[in-house]
Amino acid sequence: MLFVLFHLGPERYALEASRVVEVVPLLALKKFPQSPRGVAGMFIYRGRPVPALDLCELTTGHTAAEHISTRILIVNYAESTERQHLIGLIAERATDILRRDPQDFVEAGVKLAAAPFLGPVLMDERGVIQLLLANKLLGESLRELVFTHTMEATNAGD
């Protein structure tokens, strides 16, 4: 199975590549005033608005560094494949991929109620890589906030 590797602060993380639609550079974002922590704003992707979530801010509390290696992973959040609910995940140093058996990831042993999106871990020669569970990234309130906004915008465009 193929994984996209990236950093959030000093830590390394992985995301299932099959969920990633495209990896794009850190685009200019339209920011929302008074948006909750982690919501970086939105951008226009292929003609439609897509919300951007700053994974760095969500996990480390710091906004992602504005570097060339910081990229937006465009992920399809929809449960079914017919519909597309795209969301942009801002991740630092998204420059590598990894091909590993999903069985190689083992339970981290710690479950954080505040961070249900942190999945099992994998060891390699450079240390620990933690799997990010894309479908658990948005809490109920955040999901509602992020998607009602963009869905209204999409409907208005139809």
Partner: protein, 245 residues
């Protein structure tokens, strides 16, 4: 560039980045490839294993480090505009045709129906068959094939006579086709070769062009400064089979 590179004019050196200092607050790139690597004196012991610096993890780590530079506003703006636009897909379904000339008519047929483009060769005429579609028999790789006149079949021969003196000398060819196991040969005056086009490049033939060939025509397309008629393989070979007797 702050680093002196003795081989900077060489190809190997040109493909390797030279570390530039002062682009960011990050640690400067340690460009060992320019000192002990392939662009340097080649004394690095890792070269035995990696052959070239581009295969070495130190080199790729340095490349990743170069990406850890701050984003320039122009870079960001340019990509933002790029990804905001709808993705334009170039249709991968491409049509391959062979373009040829009969008399003054430029025609084409799908490449799939052709087996070979051969030299013109001796024709064995058939008795009492001098006026029809069948011109005679030709020997192609030891097999006798029916040689058919496309211009007569499509009713093109009444057009202005072709400039024979030119075409006879260099360009004339024999197109060998295979349609569902039926092999035929067609003499043509010139072959322009295989050309690829998109389905949307093919337009409907104007009624003036179509003439009696209309039922075999599946459209026209522009090629260089010419309009080429595309023949529909199925109806052409059906028409040919019906006119053999």
């Amino acid at each position: 560039m702050t680093h002196h590179n003795p081989y900077s004019s060489g190809n190997a050196a040109a493909s390797l980045p030279v570390a530039t200092k002062g682009t960011s607050a990050l640690a400067p790139v340690h460009d060992c490839w320019n000192t002990i690597g392939v662009a340097g004196n080649g004394s690095c012991r890792e070269l035995v294993r990696h052959i070239h610096c581009r295969n070495c993890p130190v080199h790729s780590a340095a490349a990743v480090q170069l990406l850890d530079r701050p984003l320039s506003p122009e870079y960001r703006r340019e990509w933002t505009e790029h990804f905001a636009r709808e993705k334009t897909l170039t249709t991968p379904a491409r049509v391959s045709v062979v373009i040829f000339r009969i008399g003054l008519e430029w025609l084409s047929l799908r490449t799939q129906v052709f087996q070979e483009i051969a030299e013109r060769r001796a024709m064995h005429s058939l008795p009492h068959r001098r006026r029809g579609i069948v011109i005679g028999l030709v020997n192609v790789r030891g097999e006798l094939l029916i040689c058919a006149a496309l211009d007569r079949l499509l009713g093109l021969e009444s057009a202005v006579p072709a400039p024979r003196f030119r075409s006879r000398t260099v360009f004339d060819r024999l197109l060998v086709s295979d349609w569902k196991g039926n092999r035929f040969a067609f003499p043509v005056d010139e072959v322009q070769g295989v050309h690829r086009l998109n389905q949307e490049d093919i337009r409907e033939a104007p009624s003036t062009v179509a003439r009696s060939a209309s039922r075999c025509s599946s459209g026209v397309f522009r090629w260089r400064d010419r309009t080429i008629g595309l023949l529909d393989s199925a109806s052409l070979f059906e028409l040919l089979n019906n006119n053999l007797s």
